[in-house]
Amino acid sequence: MGADEVAFLRAPWLEAGQPDAWVAALEESCARLQPDVLILAHITMGREVGPRLAARLAVPIVTDCTEVRMDGDSGALVGVRPCFSGKALSEIALAPGSLRIATLRRASGSATVSAANPAPAPSVTLELSAAHAGHTRVLERVVPPPGALRLEDASIVVGVGRGVATAEAFRSYIVEGLAKTLGAAVGGSRGAVDMGIIPAELQIGLTGRVVSPSVYVAIGLSGSPQHMAGCGGASTIVAINTDPQAPIFAYARHGVVGDFRKVVPSLTERLAKILAEDA
């Protein structure tokens, strides 16, 4: 994927997967490898680990970047990041002179391994100090069933809002219906979480998951700025909503004004037929 060298970090305490451990591991790795720039994925782990490491090392950081680049003249690391719920983009420059940290949003499907470059990069393994005591201990983990499609990995995402009304409708019309047929991942708005339609970890938005699929199908979703900050990077948005004035239609390329209970079954049926024909 373009790396010149790969460093594997090894320590028994990393397996617990806690941010405490990752901050310690990256602190030690940076001390040994002396990088100019550290880039982390802007996922829940990176959102916490990045600013913690920046504070611990007293170095500058820019997070939630949609793009990072080096400015040739000043040597600054420039991060471009949405702010004000996606209503603006800010360009933030981190001056050279110390380690600089950025967390980067991932565009779905952008991290492809090129088959034309079969030579593996040379790798080193860093054995980290054995002693590490975290401030937290995991008592219980709730994880999705194995094989479930991650929202960030899906090229099609179906998102639901308050209009879907119940968890049962979400299951029957979307999970078992449209999303299954499309091979799409599912998520939804904060409103859908508040109404108990979807679990909190499937929230898409500024404070939830950030997805950039090829197609985002928004169902019964109003399209608040908070939500659009999490799915506005989709190449194409398709919206189904009973309210023709819903803000989501301002972002959508294709829209249907209608009740999803009537639109989605015929859409699903026809898609199943099309996909079977095209396969």
Partner: protein, 270 residues
């Protein structure tokens, strides 16, 4: 238990998207008509969590905010929401690019408020959307950090927090003192009663300056700076599918998605 809640006032995040613009001369965000300042959304959940902990376990809650005299409006709202004491830090309310100075002020104040068992913050402020402060505070204070928190349990001895992870959720046993970044799933903030609002007016707001906190001039504030702020418009022209019945619209939408080549990516799998 002594709980400290850190709050920030931001321009109304619910202000219509169309009222937002950028002053290109100064690179500053503007609203027309002006957006009212209010306590950032997630901070309201932090205030509510602190009030609930105090109600259940006693102790006291101190609310802290950094900025000029205008932040006292938010501090009094927090007092009405269940906090016991309010503290204003007379310093810069946070630049557009760098949160380390905000964290430095808050950490110095919390150290002076010792003993502190718990620091509650909103998971991010609804303006620059960074969410750096709780993580930085935990490091500067040497406390446990948990982000983003959607559940809390305390039995007087063992403190448990439920957090979102990239895969799902986790329940953690947390050593106190700790800094928690609170998410909206945690609780449902109520509105203070008129009586509480009136009582909050009588509580004095303490003010601490850089000198009170023994803070030096920041060493190098230019490490991270805002180059440009650009308005961003994601809106586009929507083509509506017209049909006699919603069932027909569903069929036409499927045909449209195929015609536009939008199904290819999904058919191949992510």
């Amino acid at each position: 238990m002594h709980v400290v809640v850190c709050i920030k006032q931001v321009p109304d995040p619910q202000a219509p998207a169309g009222s937002f613009y950028v002053d290109e001369a100064t690179n500053e965000p503007r609203w027309s008509p002006p957006a009212q300042d209010q306590i950032s959304t997630f901070d309201l959940h932090a205030i509510e969590a602190a009030a609930q902990l105090r109600q259940a376990h006693g102790g006291r809650v101190t609310v802290v905010s950094l900025g000029d005299a205008e932040v006292e409006v938010g501090l009094r709202r927090a007092l009405a929401g269940g906090c016991d004491a309010a503290l204003r830090l007379d310093g810069p309310a946070g630049s557009s690019a760098d949160r380390s100075e905000t964290a430095r002020w808050l950490a110095a104040a919390i150290a002076r408020l010792a003993p502190v068992d718990l620091v509650l913050c909103g998971r991010l402020a609804a303006d620059w959307d960074m969410g750096h402060v709780p993580a930085m505070l935990g490091e500067l204070l040497g406390m446990a950090v948990v982000t983003p928190v959607v559940g809390l349990e305390y039995d007087g001895a063992c403190f448990r927090a439920r957090r979102l992870t990239d895969e799902g959720q986790e329940v953690l046993e947390v050593d106190l003192p700790a800094v928690l970044a609170v998410s909206n799933e945690l609780n449902e903030p109520g509105y203070p009663t008129m009586r509480a609002v009136l009582q909050a007016q009588k509580v004095p707001v303490t003010t601490w300056t850089a000198r009170d906190l023994g803070l030096d001039e920041p060493a190098d504030r230019a490490a991270a700076r805002l180059l440009r702020l650009l308005p961003r418009d994601l809106t586009r022209e929507c083509e509506f599918i017209e049909a006699d019945t919603p069932e027909d619209a569903g069929l036409l939408l499927a045909d449209c998605l195929r015609a536009q080549g939008l199904l290819a990516a999904g058919a191949k799998g992510g």
